[in-house]
Amino acid sequence: MPKSSSNSIPVQHIAKLSNIPITSDEEEALTHAFVDTLKVVEELKSVDVSKVQPTFQVTGLENVWREDMIDEKKMFTQAEALFNAKQSYDGYFVVPQVIDQD
């Protein structure tokens, strides 16, 4: 990712990474929104966290496992799996081409 400060956020690049098509009007609005948002976030930098461990989840649960068993009750039938697909063919999802595209 190109270097940037909060004044020059690489919005088009982020849009590409996020797979979200944006217009140039949107690009400008998003840039403003990001600057506004990051301004609030910057306040965090005044907090001393040098001796603090991060918390990724709060329940205290660790290594939650389940038996590697097939539960047919929880499985979709092929018809259910494809029910909401925009396009299917012969029991498959039809996906857009991603290889050999620039």
């Binding site: 998003l30 948002t37 965090l44």
Partner: protein
């Protein structure tokens, strides 16, 4: 008007055959027609009168429940208020809605929300905003704005909402309802459109504290489909209703924030009732809630960018060009805060600040049983207020974000009504993890000894 009864009274009277399903649902239908302009429901269950048959002997006895439209309901359209899911018909049921059905609840319909539950106004819904039933020139709050509005207008007996950082409590404050946000992990997230997986918490919005406690009894518990749901024993949450708060220590937080100056004077006198009831009330100093705004923002945007990556328009739904402005902002900012070179600067920093909030609350809860604050920094804002503001929700939820990122249970109870506008203020009561009973006890005591609850038959 039987639709105005509390959940407890509805169940009691149905079981004692004082009222019939037919009468209840006739009144409900009338209310749905009269209040249609509120836009609280996106999809109505056309056969609710049929669904209710044979449910009289179930625990919930066929009461009408509103369901936020981010809960997957099998064979019933589920949009999360985004046109990305315009035609989405889930082929499975969320755990929370499955449990309510199994307990004998009947779904009135799916309620409006901020698209993907991103917001605190219900204005980011791609199906139009919901209006506040208490004053239609104002917003209901959000993201569970449709559910709170449905309760406030008696278009259901109780509702299911979900909260990531304020989305149950803040719309409850603005609509004058009770909203109970359970401890993170108390209620399964399975089948809820994922937003911020480390804080998302389904929970009830109802007319009284007791009603929300009743519903939580049927929602709570471990679910093998959600690895973060807890296998801790689930108490009967209604056992704590009516208990004395004598001797309890109540810490008051966040009142000195400059943004609260205009409503502080309305809120402070409400605390006196706790002293009258024998509790000790003291002002306490908590970690500056302003840090929670930035902290929540980074964590939320980051988790959103990951969770919303699944919407590819292939297996279900439309393509990503249909995301609304708010979702685009959040997904993209989260992509930025998680990207190489920035993840440490933003995401890791935010996870560390989260730890500081956990430590700060741990210290406060050594001294106090519960902490109380205002739920929202003001009354319900006027329609249009959220437009053009990238941080509207974060600022409106500033008093709730810290308790959300730390997983604490909290409840909103109405604590003031402005006679000129008919708009409400809410009190937020929080307790340590897994101690919902404390917020229920204190909320119930407040509700029963004041006049602010509009369904109250006492006081």
């Amino acid at each position: 008007m039987l639709n105005t009864l509390t959940l407890k009274n509805t169940i009691d009277q149905l079981k004692r055959k004082k009222i019939s399903h037919k009468e209840l649902y006739t009144d409900l239908r009338r209310s749905l027609e009269q209040n249609s302009e509120l836009n609280a429901y996106l999809t109505l269950n056309e056969h609710m009168e049929k669904d209710v048959e044979n449910l009289l002997d179930t625990p919930l006895a066929g009461v009408p429940i509103a369901i936020k439209d981010n809960f997957c309901t099998k064979n019933v359209r589920t949009t999360a208020s985004s046109t990305v899911l315009d035609h989405f018909i889930p082929q499975f049921e969320s755990t929370a809605t499955r449990k309510l059905k199994e307990a004998g609840g009947v779904f009135v319909g799916k309620t409006n929300l901020d698209a993907w539950a991103h917001g605190s106004s219900t204005e980011t819904s791609q199906y139009g905003r919901t209006l506040n039933p208490r004053n239609k020139e104002h917003l209901p709050g959000g993201s569970s704005g449709g559910s709170a509005a449905a309760v406030a207008s008696d278009m259901c007996t109780i509702a299911l909402g979900s909260e990531t950082a304020g989305s149950i409590r803040q719309p409850s404050a603005w609509c004058g309802t009770v909203g109970l946000k359970p401890t993170y992990g108390r209620v399964s997230r399975y089948g809820v459109a994922a937003m911020m997986s480390s804080t998302d918490s389904p929970g009830p919005i109802g007319k009284t504290v007791e009603d929300t406690a009743i519903l939580l009894n049927y929602l709570a518990g471990h679910d093998q489909n959600d690895g973060t749901s807890s296998s801790k024993e689930v108490p009967d949450f209604t056992q704590t209703i009516g208990k004395s708060i004598k001797g309890m220590k109540i810490g008051v937080v966040y009142l000195d924030h400059p943004g609260l100056a205009s409503i502080k004077t309305l809120f402070e006198p409400q605390l006196k009732v706790f002293e009258t009831l024998g509790a000790h009330v003291e002002y306490a100093t908590a970690l500056n809630p302003s840090y929670a705004i930035g902290d929540y923002t980074v964590l939320q945007r980051s988790e959103v960018s990951s969770n919303l990556a699944r919407y590819d328009g292939i297996r279900y739904g439309n393509d990503r060009s249909l995301f609304g402005a708010e979702a685009k902002r959040r997904i993209m900012l989260g992509t930025f805060t998680l990207s190489k070179g920035y993840a440490d600067k933003y995401y890791s920093l935010a996870q560390k600040v989260r730890t500081l909030f956990i430590e700060d609350y741990a210290k406060l809860f050594q001294k106090y049983d519960v902490l109380v604050s205002l739920t929202s920094p003001g009354f319900a804002k006027k329609i249009g207020a959220s437009e053009g503001s990238a941080m509207f929700g974060e600022l409106e939820d500033m008093l709730l974000e810290a308790s959300s990122i730390t997983g604490l249970p909290g409840i909103n109870v109405p604590c003031y009504r402005d006679p000129a506008t008919n708009l409400y203020l809410g009190m937020n009561i929080i307790a340590p993890m897994w101690q919902e009973e404390k917020v229920i006890t204190v909320g119930d005591a407040f509700e029963k000894n004041t006049d602010w609850n509009s369904w109250s038959t006492h006081g």
